[in-house]
Each structure stands twice: as C-alpha cells, then as structure tokens.
Symmetry: C2
Subunit: 143 residues, 2 copies
C-alpha cells in the first residue's frame, strides 16, 4: 500500500511534466518513510537529454541526505528507467527501485538488468496502467 | 593528429580533476574543428555520482550549440565511458566518440556496445598510456 501511495506522488510529478509538454515521467525518493526529493523529466525545458527524472532525483536526494549514496533510499518512478538512469542508480548504490510501467523500447532490462547495482532491490508494475496511460496519451496527442 | 591534439586538451582537464582530488577523467567536445565544451569529473565537489565529465559535456555542448543533439560533434574523453555516460551519449545522438584508455572494470563495452547510439562512430586508444597513467597514479596515491 505504501508503494502505491508513493507511486501516486510520482504520478503527480509525471502529470506536471506532461502539462509542461515534457514526456510525462515523474518520481520521488523516499528515505525513512518520508519523501526527500521529487522531480520530473525536464529534457525540453533544460535542453538537456540527460535531465531525466531519475538523474535529478539522485542529485536532490544526495543533497537532502548530505552524502552521495542512496543505500537506504527507495526511488519511485512512473516508467522503467533507461540504461543511463539505471547505471546512474548503480553509481548511487540505490537501495530499492520501484517503477510503474515497463518501457519495452528503451528500458534498461532490454540491455542488461546488471546495469543496476547488484544490491538494489526491484519492484515493478506498481500502478502500471496509470503510469502507462499517461505516456500513451501524451504521445497520441503529439501526433 | 587532430585526435591527439584534442585528447591532450582532454588530458589537461583530467590533470585538473586529479589536482582537485577527483578521479582524473577529463574531456572536450569539438564541433567544426573548435572546442565548444571542456569539463572534468566533479563527483566529489558536487557530491553527485552522476557528475562525470561526459554528463557535464553533454549539457555544456548543448548549450553552446543551442540544441539538444550532438550529431555533428566529437566528444574526447580520457577514459572509456561508463554505461551511464554511454547511454547519455546515445540520447544526445553523438556523432563521434574518441576515448583514450579502456576501462576494463566499468567500461560500457563490458555491458553492451549498443548502449551508444547506432550512428556514433568510435575511436579508442588515443594517447591511451597517458590517460591510463593518470588513473593508475591517482589510485596508487589513494591507498
């Protein structure tokens, strides 16, 4: 139930991204039961292909906890991370990853599940249909 | 010869990183024969595991050319990119990647060469021994 609660917060971020004409992906980082970072995709606004939600969350969470490593944190993100983000989460030694919808075109699991840190626990499929519907809707409206 | 010239500039960045107690990896981005971005690893200073030279170079180069994609750019970096950076360079649609030393522990080729964009041309081994010596020296001094 907590996973769904936090995924709803990630979804709020994703909706905010979509409203800004960004690909609607959002996330939060939770540590000790508390949200310490929230962000969404900003690749358009920042004109930066690396400005995915996860990359920003890593920086914000590190700042919040005053250290580089996220071993005790859970990162919630609405869509399966891409290989860049998975490998970034590996450098961050993320404790637990929870994602909603799979990304059958660009998801890290297409490349290698081992892009993540070997100790990162993974849960997928939380509110997957809501997460996925946001993406489908966004790309339908773009055409 | 131009590759060596630009790799020497990347090496200058790497030396500057080492002087700041950062893992000594540096790089430059070249477009139209001109350096449009130069950066080195800043993971310690920024307390951010994603602050690799390449990630910063992507942002700086995009700003310099006023667009997100680096199709007409060559990125020089002293050490083989990690999977995070390779996948970031794929999002950036980098035209050409030139790196010096291989990274047999964390290099992207260990995971999958296809982490890069399919159209990115790759040259490796430019001034490899200089690039590698900087790393060896750095980690020797840390112990």
């Amino acid at each position: 139930m907590n996973d769904e609660k936090f995924m709803r917060e990630a979804l709020r971020e994703a909706v905010a991204a979509g409203a800004d004409k960004e690909v609607p992906i959002g996330g939060v980082v939770v540590c000790g039961g508390r949200i310490i970072a929230r962000a969404h995709n900003l690749t358009e606004r920042l004109t930066d292909v690396t400005a995915h939600a996860e990359i920003q969350l890593i920086g914000m969470a590190a700042e919040a906890i005053g250290g580089k490593y996220l071993n005790d944190c859970t990162l919630y993100v609405t869509v399966e991370p891409c290989p860049m983000c998975a490998a970034a989460l590996a450098w961050a030694q993320l404790g637990r990853l929870v994602y909603g919808a799979p990304d059958p075109k660009r998801g890290y699991t297409l490349f290698s599940p081992s892009l993540l840190h070997p100790r990162t626990e993974v849960t997928s499929g939380v509110l997957a249909s809501d997460c996925s519907a946001l993406m489908t809707e966004f790309f339908k409206n773009q055409r």
